[in-house]
C-alpha cells in the first residue's frame, strides 16, 4: 500500500494562522499509524496566494486533498478517510 503523505504548510501566513500548533501531528501520527503515513512540514504550499480572497489558512495537504483551516482533528479525520478508502 502506498504511503499517505501529509504536508503541513509552514509559510508565513499558515504559520501565524495556526500551523505552528500542528506539531502534535508530527508526534502522534507515527505512533498511531506507523509507517503508513508520513508527516512533514513544507516551506509553503502556495495556497494562500491563490486562495486569498477567502483565505482559509493554515493549509495541510493529505496526498492531493487540501485541508483548509487545518486542525489536528481535521487532518486526522482526512487521514482516516483516505485509509478507509484503501
Amino acid at each position: 500500500m502506498e504511503k499517505i503523505s501529509v504536508k503541513v504548510c509552514l509559510g508565513t501566513t499558515c504559520f501565524v494562522m495556526g500551523s505552528a500548533n500542528l506539531q502534535e501531528l508530527i508526534d502522534i501520527v507515527p505512533a498511531k499509524y506507523g509507517d503508513k503515513v508520513d508527516v512533514s512540514g513544507v516551506p509553503c504550499l502556495g495556497l494562500c496566494a491563490t486562495d486569498w480572497e477567502f483565505s482559509k489558512a493554515p493549509y495541510v495537504k493529505v496526498n492531493n486533498e487540501v485541508v483548509k483551516e487545518a486542525t489536528v482533528e481535521k487532518v486526522l479525520n482526512e487521514i482516516e478517510k483516505q485509509l478507509g478508502k484503501k
Binding site: 509552514l10 508565513t12 501566513t13 506539531q23 512540514g41 516551506p43 509553503c44 486569498w52
Partner: protein
C-alpha cells in the same frame, strides 16, 4: 579588500559609564571607513561626555570631506580645553581614514601609538609630528601608510598599555611591548582571528592583568583587519515579474559565496527553477518560528517575514545566540562581511488579511531596517537589489 573592524571596551571599576569612546562609520559610496577612538580625561560620566564629543566632532568634520583629516585633527588639538586640576587636555584621540585599497591616514594625539602588524611582525611607519600652535605641550603624529591584505592595525586607550600598573609582576604595567607579545602569540595561534575576537581577547587579557581583575582605568581596544571579504547572498521574496524567476534563480545559483533563502514561496521557486528538492526537519517550529529546510548548494533556508523580523529584532538588541531559525540567520549574516540582499517585490495578498498579526511587515521595510542595523551596528557592507 575588506576592512574588518571592531572595538571592545570595559569600564573602570565602580563607574557606570565608559570614559573611552569609539565611533566608526563606513561610506560605501566612497569605499572607505573612518574610525575614531577617544579617551576622555578622568572616568565616568565626565570622561564619557568629553570623549564622546571629541570623537563625534572629529568624525563629523572629516566625513564628506568637509575638512581634511589633518586640519580637522589640528582644530581639535588646538581647541581642547585644559583641565584645571591636571593641567592637561580634556581628551586624547586617534583617528583613521582608510579606503578599500588600503591607503590609510592616521592621526593620533595623546593615545598610545597604534600597532601595525604584517606577517606577525610589527612595522614601524614613518610619521610627521605636528606641534600645536596654542599649547606647547601638545603635538600629534600624522601617518600615511599603505596597507596590504592580511595587515592588522591595533588602536588602544592607555587603559590597555597601563593595565596592571604597580602590581607585583608588572611594575610599569603591560606597556606596548607586553601588548605586542600578547598579540603575536595570539596571532601565531590563530592567524585568521576576526577583529571582534581579537579585540575581546585584548580586553580580557588586560582585565586579567589588573589586580583583583578590577580595571583602574577605562580599557578599549580597536582592531582593524584587512582581508578578502566573505560574501553572502540572501534571496528573499519572489520577483515582481514572474517571467524573470529563471533569470534570478540563475544569478543566485552562480553567486560565489554563502547563500541563504528566506521565504517559503522563494524556496519553492528556486527549487523549481534549479530542479533541486527541498527537505525539512521533523519539526514544525522551534522557538515560535518555523523550522529550517534544506537544499543542496544553499547554506540556509528559512521562512521569510517572521524569521527576518525576529532576526532584525535580536540584532538590534544584541542577543545573538538564539536557538531557532532567526539565530541561524543571524550567525549566517554575522559570519559575512559583504551581504547582498536580492529582494523580490511581489506582494502576497494573504499577508494583508486583517486576521494576521500586525507584526507581519512589508518585506521591503524589514530589509531596509535589517540593512541599516547590519551596516551601522555590525559594520557590514550591505547592498540591496530589488527584483
Amino acid at each position: 579588500m575588506f576592512i574588518d573592524i571592531d572595538c571592545s571596551q570595559v569600564k573602570k571599576y565602580n563607574q557606570n559609564a565608559f570614559g573611552d569612546y569609539f565611533v566608526s562609520k563606513r561610506y560605501p559610496d566612497e569605499a572607505k571607513l573612518i574610525a575614531v577612538l577617544s579617551d576622555g580625561l578622568g572616568s565616568g560620566i565626565k570622561a564619557n561626555i568629553l570623549s564622546c564629543m571629541t570623537a563625534t566632532m572629529l568624525l563629523r568634520f572629516v566625513e564628506n570631506q568637509q575638512i581634511p583629516i589633518r586640519k580637522a585633527a589640528e582644530i581639535v588639538m588646538n581647541s581642547l580645553p585644559v583641565c584645571k586640576v591636571r593641567k592637561i587636555s580634556y581628551s586624547t584621540f586617534s583617528i583613521i581614514d582608510v579606503n578599500d585599497e588600503g591607503n590609510a591616514k592616521i592621526i593620533e594625539e595623546g593615545n598610545p601609538e597604534f600597532i601595525w602588524i604584517r606577517d606577525n611582525e610589527v612595522m614601524t611607519p614613518p610619521f610627521e609630528t605636528i606641534q600645536s600652535k596654542t599649547f606647547k605641550n601638545r603635538c600629534m603624529k600624522s601617518y600615511k601608510i599603505r596597507l596590504q591584505l592580511g595587515d592588522r592595525l591595533i588602536f588602544c586607550s592607555d587603559g590597555v598599555t597601563q593595565c596592571g600598573l604597580g602590581n607585583g609582576r608588572l611594575k610599569l604595567g603591560l606597556r606596548r611591548e607586553g601588548l605586542i607579545n600578547l598579540l603575536q602569540a595570539k596571532l601565531q595561534e590563530e592567524p585568521d582571528i576576526s577583529s571582534s575576537e581579537l579585540s575581546a581577547y585584548i580586553i580580557r587579557q588586560a582585565k586579567n592583568i589588573e589586580t583583583d581583575r578590577l580595571p583602574k582605568d577605562d580599557i578599549s581596544a580597536c582592531v582593524l583587519y584587512f582581508r578578502e571579504p566573505r560574501t553572502s547572498l540572501v534571496f528573499t521574496g519572489p520577483p515582481f515579474n514572474q517571467k524573470k524567476d529563471a533569470e534570478y534563480a540563475k544569478i543566485f545559483d552562480e553567486f560565489k559565496g554563502k547563500k541563504a533563502i528566506c521565504g517559503g514561496t522563494t524556496a519553492n521557486l528556486i527549487s523549481r527553477e534549479l530542479n533541486r528538492p527541498i527537505t525539512m526537519d521533523k519539526e514544525i517550529s522551534i522557538g515560535k518560528l518555523p523550522s529550517c529546510s534544506y537544499m543542496d548548494g544553499v547554506d540556509l533556508v528559512t521562512e521569510g517575514i517572521l524569521t527576518l523580523t525576529e532576526a532584525w529584532e535580536q540584532l538590534e538588541e544584541g542577543n545573538l545566540d538564539i536557538d531557532n531559525a532567526a539565530g541561524k540567520l543571524i550567525k549566517f549574516l554575522l559570519d559575512s562581511d559583504c551581504i547582498n540582499f536580492m529582494v523580490g517585490a511581489k506582494l502576497n495578498q494573504a499577508h494583508y488579511n486583517p486576521a494576521l498579526p500586525v507584526e507581519i511587515e512589508i518585506r521591503k521595510n524589514i530589509i531596509k531596517k535589517m540593512a541599516a542595523v547590519l551596516q551601522d551596528k555590525y559594520f557590514k557592507k550591505v547592498s540591496v537589489q530589488y527584483m
